[in-house]
Amino acid sequence: MAIGKKKSDNPPQTISEPEIWSFITTRSTNSCFLCITLFAVFIRLAVALHPYSGANTPPMFGDYEAQRHWMEITINLPPEDWYRNTTANDLKYWGLDYPPLTAYQSYFHGILLRFFDPASVALSDSRGYESYIGKLLMRWTVLMSDLMIFFPAVLYFVTVYYSWNPDGKKSSKAWHTLMILLNPCLILIDHGHFQYNCISLGLTTAAVAAILSNRDLVGSMLFCLALNHKQMSAYYAPAFFAYLLGKCLRRQRPVVEVLKLGLVVFGTFALVWCPYLNSVDAFLEVLSRLAPFERGIYEDYVANFWCTTSVAVKWKRLFTTQSLKLLSLVATVSTCLPSMIQLVWSPTKHGFLHGLLNCSFSFYLFSFQVHEKSILLPLLPASFLAVEEPFVFQWFIHSALLSMFPLLRRDNLVVPYAALYGLFVLLYYAPGVRKDAGVSSSIPFILKLFASACSLVIHIVYITVTPPEKYPFLFEAVIMSLCFSQFVLILIYINLKQWAPSKISSEADTKKKRL
């Protein structure tokens, strides 16, 4: 809001900073996007020079080996055997536990790898395969997926967002694109740690853009694809469901509209699950792989509700897994509910974006078996809101980075972590683009300053000090509680924001009237 005001009453008066970027921002969306894309690709390539997770650490290695193993499995075995424990496919060794679209993606990437470096995907023999060219090829498959899915999706989103959003200034468009594309967490996980989040997040972005431009059917199809790439995309499902339902209810024939959407969803799912639909057993086999309940309600030190409160309440001892499942379900649904009700009640685009953030955040904080990396899911809608809520977005990035710090340190990614952290701050405060004006003395600002100071101290302590022997995970626990408290604050704030949209829209209306 403060930003919007600042922008409107600040015409470029002097030859000063604001025109620095004019040579890029005043160009067409596509040329502007080209420049940002090149920069984003360059940064990704540079991050990709660094080690991946589990490099040189037999016997299990890490996510890199998991992805490589899936390529090996999918190109050497028939689809029926991909999710089944066989002699050639030991599910205990990085068994495929993502939905079929991931398997297909592994299949195509596997073909590429087999073409250039057959040894890297040889059945069974290639376990723990690590080589210069192998690493490069794997890195390039991620970059390719990013370029082919995430980047176009972001272009689509930005185009749609700025054709709809009345507040959207052309100059902030470039900045907004940059914020989405150069999300340090996403780059570090995909191109450093090694995963393919760009695919599911890209599909989600495209789905959001499609729905914002009222192509609901296309949007739901894209979202189903995202769901079928990573089941974690379900974090967004309540928001999609509630918003689309709310929209349908406002149409002339709500039942037909809902049926149409349902048909698209079922159709997409049927298409993706085609090889596993010949028998119930095959279907259930795959399904059981996707829900690893045996891994417990939390792992490591993830900054969510269950893990943080486990310092005081020993959830795992007090309850059985079965009741914990139920408990986490109830907690997740009840925290999503306000946001969903708002979306059904008044399905606005503004509310939809907030709802996406709220629901995914609730899932991160309260659902069963959450991983540190899942913070990427709420981060995506937060970056959609970067122009509307710059302060929250920036705060969120800071705390999310901190929450991933222990993980990235294990991967030897401290240097790119620091570099991308710095780069993010620089890009956020790019001269002449935007500033956190208006909040420089308020309580949230002081709070954020305090959090940043804590974060800086804990970063340094975590790197330099060895924890006491009695509490080897002391610092992880501190990081976790620090992040959790900030996450809760952000969640509450965004929920309140979602429920108070009328203020902004009415303000916009009065502005229009005044004009």
């Binding site: 620095i20 040579f23 890029i24 920069f39 360059f42 020079l49 660094h50 080690p51 490069l136 710095g422």
Partner: protein, 515 residues
């Protein structure tokens, strides 16, 4: 709300962003120059000064002037604290642990501060628009050539060029004494910069030592003693230990050939090609031509000439050619020494040294590309010339990074540079609107009226560049297989030499026609 615009705003931001990117590039490929500098750290740390230039522990003997040795000595103080193995003369040989990589890469990033400061000094004048200031500092600090040579291949060119630019900035301000002093310091860091010494001498003699016989002579003495003091500080200790002979032998090694292992794209490429062609033709016509026994890259051994038809080239001949090529500029500087021309003259001198010098390294093109960035926004012709020159220079550095991992990085880096230049120069020289402005002002500056365009000749040259690259990377292997492995590099040399020749002629005409 908004901060008052500061002069440094355009410099600190690109500098910090560049540093973040440089950190990301830490694990990139580094050449043997990395070990060279590592060895010099060990050499200066563990041996007394009297043995620095006579030690032969490693083949990478110290061959830079004393100030650079002092610089390494200074760095080694910290290096020894970081990891004592780095500065161990024997155990440190070919040491490449993460500590030494981090240390050396950081030392390059930090020493680049000199470059940043000089860019700040050069652009802080009120005459620059914010956009110009930003673009120039971006062109200097984000020069892709520096990224390739310093932050991947590994050298300290940013630091050295920073000193050169600092000297130029003082000369432009009219502070000749300190400008000359800094140039003398630079010569004691790297003697290759001496190519511009005649220009400095003539300029300072005519510009600084003026104002009557007495005053002029006084100033000449003053300047002379400053320079002598610098050289005494550098070479004095070695003279004291009776090492001068060794120092000079190391700094000027005889027995190097006309060309470096990979031919720098300069005039001699054409000479060699002409010789080859003539030799081929004469053999066809029935003349018996003795195939040359020596190579162009090897030294002068006995009487054998690397040329089959054309007369052999000696170091003295290249020296005279360089002086002849510089002479128009010297005459200009003699007749009318003006501070605003100094960066052009210095760049021109380095261009001549590059085109006609003995045993020129392709990296030497940075010596004139970086200073020319300062004048690249003076007129639309300057911009167009710089656009081509920097592309050619950066492309000619491509063979330095020959491994697959860095391939996409260097390509994207160059593309990003091209796009930023294209957008930046077109924003600075928009053409029609500027024409209107000029008409209002009275149209005193003719060059303002043209828009920045590449032109058909330029476009075809750039397309040719792409074809050369495609040939070298793909087509050559398809058509010739492993035969003629030197051909792609030779084509790059010849093609880039054309561009360099264009730049030389353009600069020459600019200097001759200037008033």
């Amino acid at each position: 709300m908004t901060k008052p615009p500061t002069n440094s705003g355009g410099v600190w931001w690109p500098a910090l962003a560049a540093s973040a990117v440089k950190l990301l590039l830490i694990p990139a490929y580094h050449s043997t120059d990395f070990e060279v500098h590592r060895h010099w750290l060990a050499l200066t740390h563990s041996l007394p000064l009297s043995r620095w230039y006579s030690d032969t522990t490693s083949q990478w003997t110290l061959d830079y002037p004393p100030f650079f040795a002092y610089f390494e000595k200074f760095l080694s103080i910290f290096a020894a604290r970081v990891d004592p193995t780095i500065t161990d003369l024997h155990r440190g040989l070919d040491y490449a642990s993460s500590s030494v990589i981090l240390f050396q890469r950081f030392s390059v990033v930090l020493s680049d501060l000199v470059l940043v400061y000089s860019a700040y000094r050069l652009t802080r004048s009120k005459n620059f628009m914010a956009l110009e200031r930003f673009l120039i500092s971006a062109l200097v600090i984000w020069a892709p050539g520096l990224f390739i040579v310093d932050h991947m291949h590994f050298q300290y060119n940013g630091f050295l060029l920073g000193i050169l630019l600092l000297s130029i900035s003082y000369l432009e301000e009219g502070r000749d004494l300190i400008g000359g002093f800094i140039f003398a310091v630079l010569l004691c860091f790297k003697h290759l910069f001496a190519v511009a010494a005649p220009v400095y001498f003539v300029y300072l003699f005519r510009h600084y030592c003026k104002g009557g016989l007495l005053k002029g002579f006084g100033r000449l003495v003053l300047m002379g003693s400053a320079v002598v003091a610098v050289f005494a500080a550098a070479y004095g200790p070695f003279w004291y230990y009776g090492q001068i002979q060794e120092v000079l032998q190391r700094m000027f090694p005889f027995g190097r050939g006309l060309c470096h292992a990979y031919w720098a794209p300069n005039f001699w490429v054409f000479y060699i090609m002409l010789d080859k062609t003539l030799g081929f033709l004469f053999t066809r016509l029935g003349f018996s031509i003795k195939a040359p026994t020596a190579s162009f890259t090897g030294g002068l051994v006995g009487d054998s000439s690397p040329f089959s038809v054309l007369p052999t080239i000696t170091p003295l001949m290249t020296f005279i050619t360089v002086l002849l090529a510089i002479s128009p500029c010297l005459i200009k500087a003699w007749r009318n020494p003006q501070p605003r021309m100094i960066s052009r003259w210095v760049s021109y001198a380095y261009t001549c040294g590059f085109l006609f010098g003995w045993h020129v390294h392709e990296k030497a093109s940075l010596h004139f590309v970086i200073p020319l960035a300062l004048t690249s926004l003076k007129s639309v012709e300057d911009a167009r010339h710089y656009f081509f020159l920097s592309i050619v220079s950066c492309y000619s550095l491509f063979p330095l990074l020959f491994e697959a991992q860095e391939y996409p990085i260097k390509v994207v880096l160059l593309l990003l540079h091209v796009v930023v230049m294209l957008y930046g120069f077109s924003a600075r020289f928009p053409g029609t609107s500027a024409m209107r402005d000029a008409a209002v002002k009275g149209g005193d500056n003719k060059s303002e009226t043209h828009a920045f365009r590449i032109g058909w000749l330029g476009k075809s040259y750039l397309i040719g560049l792409v074809l050369v690259e495609v040939w070298g990377q793909f087509l050559h292997h398809i058509i010739f297989g492993d035969a003629l492995p030197f051909l792609p590099l030779m084509i790059i040399s010849i093609y880039c030499a054309l561009g360099m020749l264009y730049s030389w002629i353009w600069q020459l005409t600019q200097i001759v026609l200037s008033n």
